[in-house]
Structures are given as structure tokens and as C-alpha cells.
Subunit: 499 residues, 3 copies
């Protein structure tokens, strides 16, 4: 069992099976028991001389401190940065280069937080040591979900089946509710209840996904109703920063109805959890609740140590260190996002190659984008002897250039302006390659940031296509690709992100 | 003797007795001797596996580095944060929650600096491990005072009695002069001399306090006169940031007369101390003084290591670590600031309860504050079904509401607007509780910050009432409380902050 | 051999002899071999209990992390600061005081980065433990040069003679090209080729210096020509921040011609180095080059660890720790920048001392500076009873004051206004001392910052006079000093910075 975690990247809670979650809970329980029997440092030889790098592009005290403590108690060490002010990030260094630089510094594991969705999958692709996601944009924070599960496991007597959990606060804008409920969906007879303002409620897609996995999801009219019918009430902080048009005053008014206070807890035995920090201005948990036996969120905070100790123990506890490899993995160079199109003979080609025998033609550009795409190519040409022509045919406006091919950066810039362009490479009067260039539509995904040089990649998740990095579904909208071409493309994708 | 310091919080230098100061000086001297005989790391097993948390809400290099070095040499470890930019503090987390989170991370001792007066007493109340004050607002920095005392002790041949110390620079705005002189007041035949501009001079209250404790305090006309008559001259930096209306240029002019330079030191044997940093623009110590044998402030800087080693050795050197307790101490929930008032029968009550049989009445409000208090209650009501009425009687304007009681937060908000309000709780037509709500008047005290949820507490210091947190004296001004009620209140207070 | 490095300051790559460079390469190679044979931590007893202080006044992740890793693997520890926001630097503390404070904190070695040229030589003068330059302004970054040399040494099979190295990007504004090429100039049959825009090209003085040392320096028309004829191509980042009037767009256009991309690398076997970070917006190395076997810059990054391990091993590997000395070295008090002038009898003096029998006269002031110098003296007088008179004689306008002498600060302020003033001290009607006050002309040199109290010092480098701190040549321009006086002055200077 242990081998599942050895040197494994920890990117998303959805990558964990029921067995894996239970295994980590078991190891976490052992860490808990060591602590409570006064043997905090008894495993201090496990990670002797092993070193963790914390790379927090967004500063963090809580998560960073928790990992550091876990390393310390296992005999390991740590170093890194928290916040980017003044570091090399300011000098336009890519995530790829910074991660590689950290690997060159002989770290054995990297914990990273970064504002872009999917940045942690990318970091894991780059690094030759295991990478742990400490939060990638709005996407994932899997060790938070693991510590939440461990908390439920320990407080529920070592069992997760049959749990009844309430969610409150903001089910819509945070990542906590989604991650925890998906983790719980592996277990039997789970009931989730919630009460919240419509725009803070459980997202429909999540509700459906949970229902499909056998979780009973119920919406109640009031917090009190929820609390009466659950074993644990998981409160979360309204993520004001993600609610344009909603004021602090609005939230204060709304939260009066949804905050946990003594009135609502009369005669209720549910225990209160919270990922922390509580926002003391909104006070989604009233301070008087802190003094009741229901308060379980500080125990939960400590359980974060046991979770991280368990994880690091399983990931690094066996075998020695990994030497640095100064070669980048080949897979980082190019994406799998080129949907090939049939090349249908010279006649068809002649439409646009009457004056071009070697070069590139980009067609199926979106209306009104011709000039902007031309400007990109103009920039590409700078310093090369190349020509570009804009042909404004009514049926199919296109651009042709004598550049033999375009780089990933050039194509990405064009796709940002005109999504899903068709690219034709022409040699000696023949179209040698013809494809639609696909780019993730999540505007916060790392694969859309030109300077990061992340090659767009997708994988097939059942009937859906998903971005390898941010895992958002991708729907092909190209006007010209045939159904067959789309099917072929999807068939060629890996069936799993972890291929 | 040692047991005095075991697991003790270090909040104020005034908490130390003569014996305790001498004990720490003795241990500090041992640390000094180990260093000077090349055995810096000989105590490296004392704090093996023990970990210090530095929580510097205001950044620090000097104090933080000194504690870290002390921990290292005693075999311990450290982690934490310095500066709040981007940490959870920015997310409105209370000191209570951040301190508890650090305790959950298995630290054995906390060193904290925070901009609010009294914040360190509060942190100590919260934490289940010992807390050391690294500076709370304008209030205290006790390990600075201890290192100053150790410096005098070591440079004076292991004796503090009979010392003659001069103070210069800014005796008025800093905390150094107050702390050190109070520490010295425990010893016999102490003489303190000073010369400074009036507005930078020794505060009257301090002078009186020292005199009462048998210290001879003399003001001299010139720095030279002071220097001629002391063994040590303790220079301090003018705290410009605390002198509204005084310009840098003004200070430069004034300091010409009070700075320590070679001219003033002609034929003088006093040694020069300074808590550092010297402000190199003001140059309160001329750079040429650095090269004279009188310069003792760099030795003083090193003695900070011995002081912190001594303190940590005594505090943590015995016994094992303390497990985290996820329950908050009960005493954090409510203050002892409710001065009870007699309930004098139905007749009296009828004045304002003609229309209220269950609810709260707030009276004795200050003139012109009715509307503002009403707005607070209005906010409290939001989301509840409650009514509030403002009664503008000439004699005693008051507010009534059907809220059964008010929280600490509500009361604090009202007391910030109208100090010492009288609160009446009414049930079934009877006044069940009637009290004046007291709140510390120090505008920088942590107990006045609504969001921190610090319950106002007081203690009796002889004839005075003092705030538990910032320790400022509190004078009851309520127009209505009888002398008997005031006496009763004070009699019920603990006699000491360390109750 | 080892003894050369024991406790030695590492300030400039030019301080290293051929033998010393080869010795460090040899030790670095041993570190490399330990790593590649899985014995990363085998030297963990070498620096047991030794502690490195990182003092990064400008923040750094790369250099700091590399030193920390080196310390860790040698069994040592580290602590310090990175970035000055909120530290004592903000409180106007001098470098002298901050460095001394760090020494008082029992560090065994200091790595420092600071924005002022020469600041590291000054720090080394102050500290009683060895100091390593981690970058002083635009001046030096010697461990970068050492790691570059180790990279060439290891990738070239343990030999540096006969190397052919190409330089690209920005040879003009960075310190990397200068430092590395000067280090290589110790070896035989070195060829350096380069191609760059004129204003980014190799500085003339460097080219001449290299030629004088036997290096063959060739300018080629294109990057391809350079690459065809070298073993290693060392690319650097255009330092836009040091090119006033040049826009990002200009650079992007220029760099198209000079960036390393796949086209230029066709059929070329040179390996590509880069100090990192690559600027991903300029992309001076195209991302596709990262995936070619020519990419050697990530290996180079790792070799930084071996370089620093080698250096720390040699510097600290023998003997125990150094106790702190709270006395400052006497040499810090006064500079050697006073060019004495003959005192030619009472008659000459009477010109300006008709009314002054005790005091100071400053003459040979530059035109139009009299009033400004007077204002400085006025400030000096504040708080003293002194008078100052401005005499505007046509031939030789001068200022006289009854101050008996001026401090280093006063003189520096005057020299900043009117370079090379002549200062006359007069006692009892006789000129007792007469000198020209010299001050380094590099506006970024630490010796020109009044508040730092760095005494100007010079040394004789062959026929040149150089500033001890920033090492820039200094030409005496005083209108009045005789050739003899100049010769005498220069003859009295130490022949070497390391005196």
C-alpha cells in the first residue's frame, strides 16, 4: 500500500481512492496517537537530512508553518520563500525555471502555492522530486481536504461511512466544500445538508456529481435545521474577494442569518469545524461558540500536523534522496492540443497558396481579429526577413506568411485573440500539416500565460475533454473540424491526467 | 528558585522581583562565561527538539535574531513570521486565533511583537505555552530591560547596588528608560541623573515612582554634568515618530546639545550604553565615540544573547514539551468590567419599562450620543426580529430594545461611543441585571479593538484600578454609580494581574 | 594551500590567483563527485554548529538558497534577513552597526548583498568574521564568477587552458561578463568571441585589459559566427534597468537578432550557459533551446551548490568559532585620503588668518559653491558657539571658522559640494595642518554616503589610485597640489587593497 505514495505528486484530492484516503487516515491516526502519548519526536530519524522547499508565491503562515512543523518532527529540514516581493519572480522568471532552480538546490520535496490554476500540475511535470499542491489559484488545496477528512475520521471514532455533514457560509466561491465533499463521496451512506443564500449555495454541478456518487444532498431552509440533523457542521468564510458587486455590508446582513451563534446552537450536538482563519469582522462563527464543547476547529488545526506528517512519511519515508537531473523532461516541450485536419488535395489548397509555396497559412479566424493576428505575426517577423499578407475574403478571411512554422508562443498568442485557429504549414506548394490549435478557456489557467511557456495539454475524462493543468472541461467549438476529426482527436488523448 | 520561571510568561519587567532579576543575572553570567571560554554550544542538549515561534506583527531583525541565536546555542529550533504583509493577519484573523494556531503547531514558547498595547498579556492569556513579550505597542519590551540590567551587572563586577546611571536622548517617548529604571529601583542606593530638553525629559510620574522606591533622581543642566557623575551613560534615540509637530530639523538642532560626542567626553570615565539602533542621521552618538574605550553598546548587544539564553534555559530547561489543548481557557470569554448597580424596586423601573417587559435598556448615555448608539443597536438587530426605541427624556435619555441581552462586542461598541453606559436587562417586567460597562481608555489598548474580542478586565493595584492588558490606571467617572458601588466593584477585582 | 582561504573575505573575483581558482575548482569537483555518487551529506560534520548569516539588503532567492543548501549539506545552519522592509535599516542604522550586530549574534560567516558599490569591502573591514560578497551594487558578485569557472572546468574535463568562450546578450551593463572573463584571463590560450549591438558590447577598457593579459578577444558580426567557433556560449540578460532611454520594445527588437534560438544553433556543438534567471518576456534563450543537449545552464545552477560548499569548506572547515569582539577595528575611524600640503611660513598664512588665530580655513573651493559650503558649516556650528565668515576674494575665495577642526562627516559634506577642498587647521596663529580632502567620485560608492560614516580610503594599483571600497580609479584634479605633493600622497598609499 505504502508504495502508492512513494515520490507521488499531490495535486488534487480527486486523485485519491477510498483506499488511499483510509490509508492516510490510518497513518495520520498513528501520528495523532504518538503526539497524545508524548512521543512527538519519536519518528525523528525518518526524514533525517531530507529537506522540504516551500515556494509560496502567495504568502502563507498557516500552511507553511504546518508543513515545517511536520518536517521538523520527522527530523527533516526546510527552506524557501513566502511572498514574491523582490524575488526572481519579479525578474520575469518562469515557474519552470524557478522550480528547476529549486530542484538544483537539492530539495527532496516541494510544497508550492501559486495564484494561477493548474500551476501545481505544471510544477509537478517539471520537477524531478515530488510536488505538493499548497493551493493553486481557485483550484485545489488537497492537504486541506485531507486534514478535514482526518478530522472527521478521528472525531468520528475511526469511521467515515454513514457520516452526516452540514456545510455553511460560502459553498460557492471556496474550494474547501468541493474538495471535502468529493473526498467524502468515496464513502458509504454520506449525507450532506446545507443552508445558505442562493448565490452562496452549493453549485449545481457539484450537487449532481455528489448525487451520482451516491451522496444524499439536502438543502434546508435554516442553519438550525441543518445543525439538528448532522454530526459535524463545517463552516466556511464568505470569499468576498470573489463576489463582484457584493459589499461588506451586504455580507454582514446576510451572514446574520447564517453565522453560527449560541442561539442557533441551543440543544444541538453537532460539532463545529472551520478551515480557519475565521474573519473576525464578519464573525461567521460568533466568539461565544469558541467556548462551547462544540468547537472542534482548533483540534482540526492541530490535525493538519498529523496529516502532513502522514503524507511526508509516506512520500519520502523510504529510500534515499533523488539527485538533480539538469535535463528537462521531454514532455514539457510541446502540447497535445493540435487537432489534425484532413489534407484534401492540391485543388483545395490552391485557394490560398496561389502566391505561397513555402510558409504558413492561418484561417478560420474569428470575425474582426485579422488585424490583431497580423500584428502578432508582424512581431514574430521582427528581425527575420519575412512577409505577411492579410486576405480579407468574405467566406474565409485568412493570413499567410512565409515563416516556415510558428512556435508554441506564437500560436498561443493567436489563439488568445482568435480561439481555435486552423494552421496550415506548406512546403514546396503542398500542405504538410493542418491542424486546429486548442487552448484552455479558463482565463486563470497557467497554460494561457504566454511567458510561462506551458504547452497546452488535454486528457479524456469519459466523454469530456479536460485541461491537464486546471482540469476544467473543454468543449471544441471549431466551425470547420468534422465530427470525425473531433472524435479522432479525443481518441488520441490520454485517458487520465496521470499518464 | 528555578521554578519561578518554569513555563512563566514574560510580559513586563515590573513583574520581576529583586531576587528574580539577580537569579537571571547569575544564569546570564554563566552564559557569558561559557561564551568567553569557548563553550558557546556546550548546553546544546538543554532545548533539544524544543521549538520557539517568533510572531512579529511588526518586523524585527535585532530581537528575532537574538532569540534565534539563543535557541540555536541551546540546541533548539525556531520558525515563524516577521511582518504581516500577506499573512493571515490580512484576512482579519484575531490575535487569539493566530496564537492558538501557533500553539496547534507544537511550538514550546512564543516570542511576539505587536503594535497594540496589552496584546502580549492577551496572547499569554490565550496560549497554553509560555509567551515572551518582544514589544507590545508603546508598552513594554522586558527582555531589553533584562539585557540592560545584565549589562550593568556584568560591567559593574556582578553588583547592582550603588549604581549611578545617567539617561539621555529621549526619556519621554521610549519604553527603555522607564523599564530599566524601574528594574534598577529594586536595588539599593541607585542614583539616576539626566539632562534633556523639557519635552524629552523624564516623565513626572516615573520620577515620583522612582523616588518613592528610594531611587535618587537628579536633573542636571548639561550632559557633561551628568556624565561626570555617573558610572554608565545610557543614551536613547529620539522617537521622532511619536512627536507630532516636531520636525527632523528641530531634533537635529536640539540633539546637538545632547548628543554624545568627543568634546563632552573629555576626562570622563562613564561608559556609554544604547539599546541600538543608533539613528545615523540624528547621530545621537557621534561616530568617533564608537572608537573610544567608553563604547559599551556592542558588548551590550552581545549580552542580549546571554540574557535570552538565560531566560529560555530557565523557562524551558526542565521537563518535556506541553501538548496542545484545543479548548480555550474559560477566562477568555468574559471580562470583569461590569460594575453592578443596585436594583431598587419596580417603581424605579417603571419609568422606562412601561412598554417593555422583556429586553434591554441602556441609559446614562453621554449627551449627543443617542443616535450613534441607536445605529449600533440597529446593526445588532439586523436579521433578528427586534425593535429599538430612542427616548429623549431631558433628565435621562435612554434607549430600549427587546433584545434579551447584548454581547461583549455590542457593549464595547456602545462604550466606545458613550463611555460607561448603564445596562439594564429586563425579564418579565423585572430588572434582572443592572451594571455600568467599563472599558480601558487607552486608545491603543487591544481591549478596545472590537474585532479582537478581548474581554475588558481590570485589577486592583493598591488604590488604583488598572487594565489587565495595557496596565494603564482606570478612573471610574460614571455619573450615577454610588461610592459604595465603586468600592464594591474595586473590592471584587483581583489584587494582581497574575491572578 | 588551504590556509589561503581560512577566514578570508571573498570580495572580488580579481583577488583570486590562478592557483587559488584551480584549488577551489578541485575542491568543487570533489563536492560534485560526492553528490553524483550519492554522498551529498557525507561532510555533515565539517560545519557542525557553525552558522551563516545572510544579510540581503536586496532580496534574493537564488543566491540565498544556494548558500543555505551548501551550509545544510556541510552540517551548518543559517539565519538572517532578505529585503529591508521593516528591518532596522529603515531606522537609519548604518551598515557598520548592522554588521556588528550580526557579529554580536555569533555568526561564523556573513553573506551579504547591498545596493551600494563597495559596501561589501566595508562590511568585511567591520566584521570580525569572514564576509562573502553576494553582490554589491553594480560592482561584483564573486561566487557567481567562481561557479561559472567551476562549470567550465567540470564540463571541459577539468581543464581551463585553451578554452574558447562566447559571450552574448548584454556585455556592457552586467557584472557577469567582466568577472568571468577576468577570472579566465589567468589561464593560457583563452579565446573570447562576442557579437552584440554596439551599446551592449564589450567595454573597451575590459577588452584592453584582457588583451594585455594575453586573452584573444574577437568581435564577430553574428551570433552564429560566434557559436561556430566556441566551446561554450555564455548568454546574459539585457539589464534594461540600467539603460535609460531604451524601451522594452527596442530591446525585444534588438534581441531578435541576438537571442539564442533553434535556427541559430543548427549544426553547432557549443554548450549554452546563463547565470539565470532568463527573462521570459525578452526570452534571450528561446524555450526550445531548453530541450536540446546544448542546454547546460541548469547543470550550472547546481554547480553553484558545489562552489559554495567548496568555498565554505575551505573558509570555515578548520578550527573552531571566533568569539565576538565588541571593539571596532581602529582602522574604521579615519581615511587615508588627506593629501598633505606644504605649510610655507607665516607670511603666506597671513592672507587669511588676519582675523583668525584658532580655527579652520577652507580654500580652493569650486566656483559658486561658497554659499553651499557655508550652509554646511552653519549646520555644524548649530549648538556650538562658533562663527563663520565667507571671504569672496577673486583669486581664492575661502571660508574661515573658529571651529578647531572638522569631523569626517563635515569634510565629506563639503567635498560633495566642492570636490578636493583644501583644509587648513590653525592653532595660535599657525597653520598646524594643511591638506586636500579626496573623496571617491563613483556616486554609488558607499564612501560617499554621509550617514554611513565610511572613511574614504585609497590604495595604489601600479600607476593608478583606486578607492578601497568600490575600486574605481581616482584621478587627482586639485588645482593647487604640486606634482610632488601628489607623488608623496600616492607613495604613502598601501600597494594593495588587502593590506
Amino acid at each position: 500500500m505504502t508504495s502508492t505514495f512513494q515520490n507521488r505528486d499531490i495535486i488534487s484530492i480527486t486523485d485519491f481512492s477510498r483506499e488511499e484516503i483510509l490509508h492516510l487516515c490510518g497513518v495520520g491516526k498513528r501520528m495523532y496517537e504518538l503526539e497524545k502519548s508524548g512521543r512527538r519526536n519519536s519518528l525523528r530519524d525518518v526524514l533525517k537530512y531530507r529537506t522540504l522547499s516551500y515556494m509560496f508565491y502567495e504568502p502563507s503562515t498557516r500552511t507553511r508553518t504546518s508543513f515545517n512543523t511536520a518536517m521538523r518532527e520527522l527530523g527533516g529540514r526546510y527552506d524557501g520563500f513566502s511572498g514574491t516581493e523582490g524575488t526572481s519572480v519579479m525578474k520575469n522568471e518562469t515557474v519552470r525555471d524557478t522550480v528547476t532552480m529549486m530542484c538544483a538546490n537539492h530539495f527532496d520535496v516541494i510544497v508550492m502555492r501559486h495564484p494561477l490554476d493548474g500551476s501545481l500540475q505544471w510544477a509537478a511535470d517539471v520537477a524531478n522530486v515530488p510536488v505538493i499542491n499548497g493551493g493553486d489559484g481557485k483550484n485545489e488545496h488537497p492537504t486541506q481536504a485531507l486534514l478535514d477528512v482526518l478530522t472527521l475520521y478521528l472525531l468520528n471514532g475511526g469511521d467515515l461511512d454513514g457520516l452526516r455533514v452540514g456545510f455553511g457560509g460560502d459553498l460557492s466561491h471556496g474550494r474547501t466544500v468541493r474538495s471535502l465533499s468529493l473526498a467524502l463521496s468515496h464513502f458509504d451512506r454520506i449525507t450532506i445538508r446545507w443552508a445558505a443564500e442562493d448565490f452562496l449555495g452549493m453549485p449545481k454541478d457539484l450537487e449532481q456529481l455528489l448525487a451520482a456518487r451516491g451522496v444524499r444532498v439536502l438543502r434546508d431552509a435554516t442553519v438550525v435545521e441543518v445543525m439538528r440533523n448532522v454530526d459535524f457542521y463545517y463552516m466556511t468564510r464568505p470569499q468576498l474577494e470573489r463576489m463582484p458587486g457584493v459589499t461588506q455590508k451586504d455580507i454582514l446582513g446576510i451572514m446574520k442569518r447564517y453565522r453560527i451563534d449560541l442561539d442557533k446552537m441551543q440543544g444541538i450536538s453537532a460539532r463545529v469545524l472551520h478551515p480557519l482563519p475565521v474573519n473576525s469582522e464578519i464573525a461567521e462563527i460568533d466568539y461565544r461558540v469558541y467556548f462551547t464543547p462544540a468547537q472542534a476547529f482548533f483540534a482540526q488545526a492541530e490535525f493538519g500536523i498529523f496529516t502532513r506528517k502522514a503524507l511526508l512519511h509516506e512520500m519520502l519515508g523510504q529510500g534515499g534522496y533523488q539527485g538533480f537531473d539538469s535535463r528537462l523532461p521531454a514532455g514539457l516541450e510541446m502540447g497535445n492540443n493540435r487537432m489534425a485536419r484532413g489534407i484534401r488535395g492540391v485543388k483545395q489548397q490552391s485557394m490560398f497558396i496561389d502566391k505561397i509555396y513555402n510558409g504558413t497559412v492561418i484561417d478560420h479566424l474569428a470575425e474582426g481579429t485579422l488585424r490583431a493576428v497580423d500584428a502578432v505575426l508582424d512581431l514574430v517577423c521582427r528581425g527575420h526577413s519575412c512577409t505577411t499578407a492579410v486576405i480579407e475574403e468574405k467566406q474565409n478571411p485568412f493570413i499567410k506568411t512565409n515563416l516556415p512554422e510558428l512556435t508554441e508562443r506564437d500560436l498561443k498568442q493567436i489563439a488568445l485573440i482568435s480561439p481555435e485557429p486552423t494552421v496550415n504549414y506548406i512546403k514546396d506548394g503542398k500542405v504538410t500539416e493542418k491542424f486546429v490549435y486548442l487552448l484552455c478557456r479558463n482565463t486563470n489557467c497557467i497554460s494561457r500565460t504566454i511567458m510561462e511557456d506551458v504547452p497546452p495539454k488535454f486528457y479524456a475524462d469519459g466523454d469530456e475533454i479536460r485541461c491537464r493543468y486546471c482540469r476544467r472541461p473543454y468543449t471544441i467549438r471549431s466551425r470547420k473540424a468534422s465530427l470525425e476529426e473531433v472524435r479522432d482527436f479525443q481518441g488520441g488523448l490520454p485517458a487520465d491526467i496521470l499518464h
